[in-house]
């Protein structure tokens, strides 16, 4: 986990506390449900002893069984039911413990939730939040570790966000719940254990704004979801090699905050995009295309991307380090983009980025089983 001080928010200390990602999400849900009695939460396992990785702990006890629901294993039906509740004045938050189960609900998400406002000319709101958790590591494999942000982002009418750090997770979940359109809220499983200072009170963080997490003048690294963590690690190593990387946590996928990236590229001239999804037809390619269309003259070199290979996720942990790119891949690519040869010094610095834990777990404490 990065110890970079730029990760800290600069709220007043008295109102801050350090939270994990799952605690921050729990905090956001609690505050949203307190503020607005029309908010309800439903999902397989929401009130159970594990509480969706701790994010829904205590909600049933606090808000009762008429607002905090478990559900039958009926993802498509229940999504449509939530759309119906949403157009009828409620604010449902649906949860999928793995985003792969949201695929069962694609008809209702794409044909109804995403279209309702447009096809009926804004005569109804669809204030629906769908929290989807992306698995990684410990053999999650082909059907429990997919990164599907580009799939959802392709659909006009859906908003898609991917916060990383606890302060953003909280603020963006609050904003998503208040939003009057359907929001796909994608949580990488490994963000749940990240920690940062989080303001105690209710606040909203925009759903369409990237955030510069580290300033630099030599290269722009625009990162999505957990790749922001890897990008910040990479930036530490690059500094020691004389390269100042600007790291942008994109936070939102649809809409993409292209102006934020253009601003940065105007300064650096180099763009590297790191995404947790597949490369083909993906989010990284979309961002690069947007920058090329709108700011071609700002680029000194062709942009590059670091993504998952165009393969389903294989289960064996022996493949984890080959399947998932990390800080080393980002830093290496950044050096290439800036035309810095990788000699002995660079190699030594890059090697220091190699994870000290096994590559299929986020921290040494993690020991499965899911």
């Amino acid at each position: 986990m990065p110890s970079n001080p730029s990760l800290r928010t600069h709220q007043q200390a008295a109102t801050n506390h350090e939270l994990s990602g799952s605690e921050a999400l729990n905090d956001a849900l609690t505050l949203c449900m307190e503020r607005d009695p029309s908010t309800l939460i439903i999902g397989e396992g929401v009130p159970d002893p594990k509480g969706i990785f701790g994010t829904t702990d205590g909600l049933r006890q606090r808000f009762g069984s008429k607002r905090v629901f478990d559900m039958p294993l009926s993802e498509n039906g229940l999504t449509g039911i939530c759309v119906g509740a949403a157009i009828s004045g409620l604010r449902p938050i649906m949860v999928h413990q793995r985003i792969d189960f949201a695929l069962l609900a694609m008809d209702q998400l794409i044909n109804n939730a995403a279209k309702w406002r447009y096809m009926f000319a804004s005569q109804a709101n669809v204030p629906l939040v769908v929290r989807c958790i992306v698995g990684r590591g410990w053999g999650q494999g082909p059907q429990h570790a997919q990164s599907l942000q580009s799939l959802f982002s392709h659909i006009p009418g859906l908003k898609v966000v991917m916060p990383v750090f606890p302060d953003d997770a909280k603020g963006m979940l609050c904003a998503a719940v208040t939003d009057n359109d359907p929001v796909i809220f994608i949580e990488h499983r490994w963000i749940h254990s990240l920690r940062s200072e989080v303001a105690s009170e209710y606040y909203e963080t925009p759903l369409d704004k990237a955030r510069v997490r580290r300033e630099g003048c030599d290269i722009t690294i625009a990162a999505f979801s957990y790749m922001t963590v890897e990008a910040l690690h990479a930036a530490d190593a690059l500094t020691r090699l004389g390269l100042e990387a600007e790291v942008i946590d994109m936070r939102s996928v649809n809409p993409l905050d292209v102006p934020a990236v253009l601003n940065s590229v105007a300064k650096t001239g180099h763009l590297l995009v790191a995404d947790t999804g597949h490369e083909n037809f993906g989010v990284a390619g979309e961002l690069i295309a947007s920058v090329a269309r709108q700011g071609f003259e700002l680029l000194q070199t062709a942009p590059a991307s670091i993504c998952l290979p165009n393969l389903p996720c294989p289960t064996s942990h022996a493949w984890a380090e080959h399947y998932y790119p990390t800080a080393i891949n980002i830093a290496t690519q950044a050096l290439h983009l800036c035309d810095i040869q990788i000699g002995r010094v660079q190699h030594h610095e890059l090697e220091k980025l190699r994870p000290t834990t096994l590559p299929d777990i986020p921290n040494p404490e993690y020991c499965g089983p899911f």
Binding site: D70, L73, G77, G139, H144, P314, S316, C367
Partner: protein
């Protein structure tokens, strides 16, 4: 119904139990790095059902598939190697516990997205009918899966075309931590299958002989053109939904129900049956245990000795070559 010797149902259940227990014990070593759903307590449905099938019949399953794979004759070493992420595994390391396959034994695949294999099994039954090869398809799923829309779409199609398939619902009353009564209204699951036009039946899933007899009758009807069959077996999962441990301390299931079901151990039930008829003594049982233990030890050893997959073959198998 294929003929088997008197000890065989017990031996097959005991073998699955001991394999699952060995997996649970060794899981703590953190060398099997994948989610794992053990079937301890539910061995009778796996063994009773598959003991009524022909070698050439096909089986599909879901996330809790070890027992179904093994009972159908799936290779033990290749299953364990898969759990250890080895290249010799039944999916060459791509699948892990939640994705098993041994087509040579008629085990055609298991996947963990609930309901995922339901229409696939119906499609296999459709192919069997269209090709008129006499094969019956069996599909294992749980009470939770019965809530998926695709379940009902699949039963409808199977009934419409009178397909040769046996739907086997292992009703263990919980989906992860959520009780059946919090997910479905008070009515029998099998009655909904009957309303779809399936020949439906419900019985004690921990009585391996009853399971086998009921399945044998269902398979016969399916094979002779009487259409899809539905068997609901009442059973109980002894350990946590996912992982190696007993999780009774979480108290999501009533303690008295747990006690009742532990007393209804399918293996103990079959042992009692055999012993009361003087068909099993201590020596025979000890021999059975020893042979099973030797097989398990050997399989673990072979699985662990096998190499990990290499970076260069990660890209294989995405498309046909």
């Amino acid at each position: 119904m294929p003929s088997i010797n008197e000890h065989e149902l017990l031996r097959r259940m005991l073998r699955i139990r001991r394999i699952e227990e060995a997996l649970a014990t060794r899981y703590a070593e953190q060398e099997m790095r994948c989610p794992m759903h053990l079937c301890i307590g539910q061995e009778a449905s796996a063994v009773g059902v598959t003991a009524a099938l022909a070698q050439d019949d096909h089986v599909f399953s879901g996330h809790r598939a070890h027992g179904h794979y093994l009972a159908k004759g799936g290779d033990l070493t290749r299953m364990i190697a898969e759990l250890y992420g080895r290249v010799t595994g039944c999916c060459k390391g791509r699948g892990g516990s939640m994705h098993l396959i041994d087509q040579s034994a008629g085990f055609m695949g298991s996947t963990p997205i609930v309901g995922g294999t339901v229409p696939v099994a119906v499609g296999a039954a459709w192919a069997s009918q269209l090709r008129d090869n006499g094969r019956v398809i069996t599909l294992f799923f749980g009470d939770g899966c019965f809530e998926e829309g695709v379940m009902h779409e699949s039963m409808n199609f199977a009934a419409l075309h009178q397909l040769p398939i046996v739907f086997v619902c292992e009703n263990n009353a919980y989906a992860v931590y959520t009780a059946l009564e919090d997910r479905q209204p008070q009515r029998p699951i099998h009655s909904i299958a009957a309303a779809h036009g399936l020949h439906a039946n419900s019985l004690d899933g921990n009585d391996v002989r009853a399971v086998r007899t009921a399945t044998s009758q269902a398979v016969k009807r399916a094979r002779t053109g009487e259409g899809p069959q539905f068997l609901e077996f009442q059973t109980w999962r002894w350990r946590e939904h996912c992982g190696p441990d007993i999780d009774d301390q979480l108290a999501y299931r009533p303690a008295d129900a747990q006690t009742v079901w532990l007393a209804r151990c399918p293996i103990q039930h079959e042992q009692n049956y055999l012993r009361s008829r003087q068909l099993l003594d201590d020596i025979a049982q000890r021999n059975m245990e020893n042979i099973i233990q030797q097989e398990i030890d050997k399989a673990f050893e072979a699985a662990i000795d096998a190499p990990f997959p290499s970076a260069k073959n990660m890209r294989e198998h995405l498309y046909a070559q």
